[in-house]
Amino acid sequence: MCLAVIGRVIEIREPVGPDAFPQGLVDVLGIRRTISFGLLPSAIKGEYVLIHAGFAIQKLEPKDAKKTLKLLKMGLPRKLRSQ
């Protein structure tokens, strides 16, 4: 019930209409997707957020986000990480 990932907000776009939710691009370990910020309208570019089912649900402090992201990366020497 609880699969959520940590991503960084790359950009947030203007909502398409008066009641529409803002949408934007997030980056999760190099994978990018457009998600909705309807549940986290105060999110801004550059922040770390928790993402579930295509929605940002919470903001995270950079140190907490980076700590968890570091735990996930394994086994590859740094110079190959972003090839």
Partner: protein
């Protein structure tokens, strides 16, 4: 850091057995994948509760999904978790009485029909069933297929309910007329309370679901410590988090002062995500829900409010209502889900029920207790 926590756990452990229940499928998977169980002190038992929304979806709900998938012109959109879940049993016009003695009306079913299917099987027979990552993707599919009806199967707890509420609001805003929701959404705290009252289940403390709590905060769990005097610790999903959560529970047990604590401080705030909570309240109303293995628990189901009735798949397609499936008596998933028995206690485990030929959701779902036991214990 892990060594330190394990050492502290060992120091606190004594001969008295302690049973801690986690009620989140994602916790079950994290425990299994990190091999934590084997590192814990012998007296500490970690049990998996009904935290997998797929596992607790009733056979009758699943049957409604199958019926709908067979209708022409319908595109079923669903999270991947549901695809292989089997539902089996007898479709019956005379449902057995529900635990609280409630009887429900059944329309459209005239005789007993055996069914054993899954969405994957329906798809193989020609149903248009598509896996989506987000309920918003279902909206996009509806927009791209104006001649078809797109139904989203709403399973999940409070983590997912706001996202689904968001999709419904967006459907309303953009005037979509071919998008529908079949809600099997449930809320977890009342189920956690029901479990505390189950005679067969022993729970000395709760590891509370981390991401549900991101939404609802810590207040809804207060009854656990105040009325039932057990510790409740809201825990994250890395193995380090789970170990820390267990340690906090043991410390509370030792101190004799149970309370609701947040281990997952990075993401969970006491008030939760109020925007998300408001969205749930805006779109849904609480009603009874049928939990596989637990029966009907009042106020744990989320159904669309009157204002959003036009998005209700149940109404639109006149699906048979109520508890219309007499479940397969051989399947003991209900007892496994509530921690009353272990998979090994079930006679079908590893024999008639395997990951390739599952009888119930506990075996088919990645975080199902039986599937985890099957893989973990050689």
């Amino acid at each position: 850091m892990v060594k330190k926590i394990l050492a502290e756990l060992q120091a606190l452990a004594d001969q008295k057995p302690v049973s801690i229940m986690e009620v989140c499928g994602t916790h079950t998977v994290a425990v299994y994948r990190s091999g934590i169980a084997g590192l814990l002190p012998k007296n500490l038992h970690l049990i998996s509760g009904p935290g997998c929304p797929v596992c607790v979806t009733s056979e009758s709900d699943l049957y409604r999904f199958f019926v709908l998938s067979r209708k022409k012109g319908v595109i079923i959109t669903t999270f991947g978790d549901l695809l292989r879940v089997p539902a089996g049993g007898q479709v019956t016009p005379s449902p057995s009485p529900l635990p609280q003695g409630e009887r429900v009306k059944v329309r459209g079913i005239k005789k007993e029909i055996p069914i054993q299917s899954s969405l994957e099987k329906e798809r193989a027979k020609g149903a248009d069933v598509r896996i989506v990552y987000s309920p918003m993707d279902a909206l996009a599919i509806a927009e791209e297929n104006p001649g078809k009806d797109v139904v989203f199967l709403g399973i999940g707890f409070e983590t997912t309910a706001p996202a689904i509420a968001g999709a419904v609001l967006e459907a309303k805003r953009s005037g979509l007329t071919n998008f529908f929701l079949l809600s099997a959404l449930k809320t977890i705290p009342a189920a956690m309370e029901a479990l505390l009252n189950f005679p067969k289940v022993r729970i000395d403390g709760y590891l509370c679901p981390g991401h549900v709590s991101v939404i609802i905060g810590s207040r809804p769990y207060r009854f656990i410590s105040e009325d039932y005097h057990r510790p409740a610790v809201i825990t994250g999903f890395q193995p380090e988090d789970i170990l820390e959560g267990l340690l906090l529970i043991l410390k509370q047990i030792k101190s004799g002062k149970p309370k609701v604590e947040i281990q997952y401080r990075a993401a969970v705030h006491p008030k939760g995500n109020e925007v998300a909570q408001n969205l749930i309240r805006r779109v849904f109303t609480a009603g009874p829900a049928s939990w596989r293995g637990l029966g009907v628990i009042p106020k744990t189901g989320l159904k669309l409010k009157a204002e959003f009735q036009r998005f209700d798949g149940q109404k639109q397609f006149k699906l048979p209502e109520g508890e219309i499936i007499k479940p397969n008596p051989a399947c003991r998933c209900g007892e496994v889900i509530t921690g009353a028995i272990t998979p090994e206690n079930c006679r079908q485990f590893r024999r008639k029920c395997t990951p390739e030929k599952p009888l119930g959701p506990c075996m088919v779902s990645v975080e199902g207790t039986c599937a985890a036991h099957y893989k973990y214990n050689a």
